[in-house]
Symmetry: C2
Subunit: 172 residues, 2 copies
């Protein structure tokens, strides 16, 4: 019964379970994001960005790196935030290519009363764990991150998924 996938090597079994857990986590985060949306009008990424800006005004590029998102994505998020008057764009005097994003008074007010990024349930349960369990979970997650992100983070050359399907010549 376990051999439905011809390509399933022994190692695949547990990897698949990891994958399933990952997908369920992603789904959970997404669903919470939507719940947030209906409760306070902000999605998780929007709130993350806003929180970052609550600490300091930043140019878009720096902001993107801070929140681990692409520049294009952040531009869209800032668009929506700006439409609600929660942030403002200021062209830098130093470098007129650069757009500084700053939180507004309204934005600050919303950040202050916004619920936590993760559901209360998660916070509560996580907090109730023993410290060693908390660090174990954190380090496991970080281990997964390190296995997923390229080590010498050159960003592009990791497309090594290709078995023989595609030619690796990306620079040509």
């Amino acid at each position: 019964m376990a051999d439905r996938l011809d390509s399933t090597r022994a190692v695949g079994v547990m990897t698949d379970e990891v994958l399933v857990a990952l997908r369920r986590i992603m789904r959970g985060v997404d669903l919470h994001s939507r719940a947030l949306m209906t409760s306070c009008g902000l999605t998780a990424p929007q709130l993350i960005v806003l929180r970052e800006l609550a600490e300091a005004k930043l140019p878009v590029g720096v902001l993107a790196r801070r929140v681990s998102l692409g520049q294009a994505t952040v531009t869209g998020i800032v668009d929506r935030l700006q439409a609600r008057g929660l942030v403002e764009r200021i062209r830098s005097d130093e470098d007129r290519r650069s757009v500084i994003v700053a939180i507004t008074r309204d934005g600050r007010r919303i950040v202050r009363k916004a619920p936590s990024l993760m559901q209360d349930r998660f916070q509560r349960e996580f907090a109730s764990l023993q410290p060693w369990e908390q660090s174990q979970i954190l380090s496991s997650l970080q281990r997964v991150v390190s296995m997923m992100e390229t080590p010498d983070d050159e960003e592009a050359p990791m497309l090594g998924v290709t078995m023989d399907v595609v030619a690796p010549g990306r620079d040509a």
Copy 2:
């Protein structure tokens, strides 16, 4: 610079790090999905759906539950798969509201030569860990899942791996 987060309560510090790790993982999964796209023309969700269909033709609703996605999302994925001729839609004779999705010969061929869902790198690194590390990671992830999903909501049928911990009952 360490006091920028003065507004976070003690419990928030580690939770935030968990969150960051989670987001980086999600980003990693997404990036891999795109790499997959360029290498074999299929994204991860498409491949997941196709794999499921390689085992049996299914109505859209059942398919959606099997892969833990919404019905609307699966409709879109099936649209794109169908446009490439990898699946076909068949209206059920029994119940003409129902649309059975079946994999085609081309679809089966692609599934066969598609790379694993996760990069080789992840597979290799995960496999190279000590067994106790593997189970620690898996159980940490599953712990996170259980903290995130509301007990009410359980049920998500997952991608067929069902071993322990979650959802004992496979389907009928």
